[in-house]
Amino acid sequence: MSETVTLAKALTLGLRRALEDDPKVLVMGEDVGKLGGVFRVTDGLQKEFGESRVFDTPLAESGIVGTAVGLAMRGYRPVVEIQFDGFVFPAFDQIVSQVAKMHARSRGDVPMPVVIRIPYGGGIGAVEHHSESPEAYFAHTPGLRVVTPSTPADAYWMIQQAVRCADPVVFLEPKRRYWEKAPVDTGGSAPGPLFAGRVARPGRDVTLACYGPMVRTCLDAAAAAQQEGHDLEVLDLRSLSPLDLDLVTESVERTHRLVVVHEAPVFLGLGAEIAARVQECCFYALEAPVLRVGGYHAPYPPSRLEEHFLPDLDRVLDAVDRVLAH
């Protein structure tokens, strides 16, 4: 059964199936009920599953995540929606101090199967606090798993796998890609594991490691580089914690050059971790320093400047040129 749907719709379908498969699954957050969320990801779910399973909460993110902890302790599997990346911070304490640590503190007696969905990233011309890329905070926190789909098919399967995971999963949704369409095979079961990356485009000359919204950007860059005779490999990491490092090192062993691309600021971002690990694992395979392309050490700018802040095809290719110059 294959349907061509947007990434947002794929998430809706995935959530619907998660709700169908397990009566303990709940969907909660601001405006997720009648409105179906500001991005319509939960559209129709309240109507179908009722107000006890899909419900609007008061406007308080700490409350949303804190009550999800209690629901999880009572045997439920809450999927909470944080309306925008910039609004997760009131919940940061609950996420970092409670959600992330409960399993370890209870020596495994109290698992935390909570999914925290967060639309993230820029490129939609929004006002401030609506374009942040907070993934590093979460990936930096032991106890949390962090994943991000880049295609409708991944969105459909990954959300279901996240719901089934016994650990808390921060599920980052690339909001600027919500409206991109692709075929999704909704039959059968997930094509692969949740916490693994994939080769989005095989290539020989340079490895581009990216995730979420930057996968499309890097694929476009690879297509452009092809014209100039450069064959780029694009890795869609999908999982940021755990990080599928084998995928990256295996690729770098072949291409000998690595560029990491993300929207989040470069300083202490995922790229820093990847660069460090890669030089540890395959120092002698590298023909050039690992380069990073990402946001700057500055607050996300007003929207009329965001094209200069966000990595685009040109900035990716600029880094590619620089690693190829070695």
Partner: protein
């Protein structure tokens, strides 16, 4: 006046009103107001101009000149009434919808558009207007207001602070913490909640099961509900509570009972969660028309006055339209401006890298 601000709900009436929806002047035992004729007219002028700003900004968003606009339609009286109650030294902490309050603080509406056009993350100097930057993260500013008020207290200044927030925001931890702080430190702050009945798609009952003003009692300070579409009542009540704060009476909560007549923002589609007919009852309570009727009834204004205000509103709209289109785009390097007050090597390095990168295009290297 301040001694008999009712601390208990429901005495004598739940809703303070000085002007009926028909424009009839009524009196209230605890809050009264005597204004000179030209003060009534000037309140009306503000209401009309603020509405015109809002209508124009909505139109500019539709034309693609703004990325977003959060309309205040229906809330003009709550904002103009409370804003006009402030003394110049009083300090104000807004949300993102306080265009009417901004107007009363002398912020040029064009500066408001800068944020929504995406050329600035701020737009004005808070100290110039005693009006903080808009705060988009719900509830954050209420704590700032209390902290500012604690500073005022230490300075022994004759100043009050006002914090704006919405019905939805009343659920946030920050807002509830700010109530506790204000009570414990007896801070000279007025919490001004515009209960416009909606937090995007969520109606009030998703946030509370008691009237919001009654929450104040539990925190240990007075709460009052005012007809938010009655500019005179809002002015009188806010004045009284600001004065109470200035005189050391501590915090209070004002719930301005009003209605969000438009969409949450230009990105929102309210037909998904409320009926168009829900608006009908509130249309009859329109804040602008109410004062207009009063001015006519009392013969405080004539046709020439109303025509004059309309002409002024039109001129303002034209200025906004032209001004908005010619708001300069910031330069890419401005990304790095003022990230820190003191030099920061990483910022300097990245700035230089961006400059060099952009120059590589101009030199035709690509």
């Amino acid at each position: 006046m301040r001694a008999d601000i009712p601390a208990e709900p429901g005495t004598p009436a739940e809703l303070v009103q000085l002007l009926t929806p028909e424009g009839e002047r009524v009196h209230h035992p605890d809050y009264d107001l005597t204004l000179a004729d030209d003060e009534y007219r000037s309140l009306f002028r503000d209401l009309v101009l603020v509405r015109r700003v809002d209508v124009e900004a909505t139109a500019l968003q539709r034309q693609g000149e703004l990325g977003l606009w959060a309309s205040l339609l229906g809330q003009e009286a709550a904002q103009v009434g409370s804003g006009r109650a402030l003394q110049p030294d009083d300090f104000c902490f807004p949300t993102y919808r306080e265009h009417g309050v901004a107007f009363t603080r002398g912020v040029d509406p064009l500066q408001l558009l800068a944020l929504f056009r995406g050329v600035s993350n701020g737009g004005w100097d808070p100290h110039e207007h005693n009006f903080a930057l808009y705060t988009i993260v719900i509830g954050n500013q209420c704590l700032h207001a209390v902290g500012y008020a604690m500073g005022v207290q230490r300075d022994q200044a004759d100043t009050a602070v006002i914090a704006y927030f919405g019905d939805g925001a009343s659920s946030q931890g920050d807002v509830n913490e700010s109530f506790i702080w204000a009570a414990v430190f007896d801070a000279p702050v007025v919490f001004f909640c515009q209960n416009n009945q909606w937090a995007i798609s969520e109606p009030l009952e998703k946030q509370t099961r008691i009237p919001l003003y009654r929450r104040a009692a539990g925190f240990g300070f007075p709460g009052v509900r005012v007809d938010g579409n009655d500019v005179l009542a809002v002015l009188a009540v806010t004045r009284a509570h600001l004065q109470r704060a200035r005189e050391g009476g501590g915090p209070s909560l004002i719930e301005a009972f009003t209605y969000r007549m438009g969409a949450h923002t230009t990105s929102d589609d309210p037909t998904r969660y409320r009926l168009a007919s829900d608006l009908e009852a509130w249309k009859l309570k329109d804040p602008v028309e109410r004062l207009r009727s009063f001015l006519w009834r009392q013969q405080l204004a004539d046709q020439a006055f109303f025509d004059g205000v309309d002409a002024e509103a039109e001129a303002l709209a034209v200025r906004l339209r032209d001004g908005c289109r010619s708001l300069p785009d910031p330069t890419p390097e401005q990304i790095f401006d003022q990230v820190y007050a003191e030099p920061h090597p990483l910022v300097a390095q990245e700035r230089a890298e961006l400059t060099a990168y952009l120059a590589s295009f101009e030199e035709g290297h690509r």
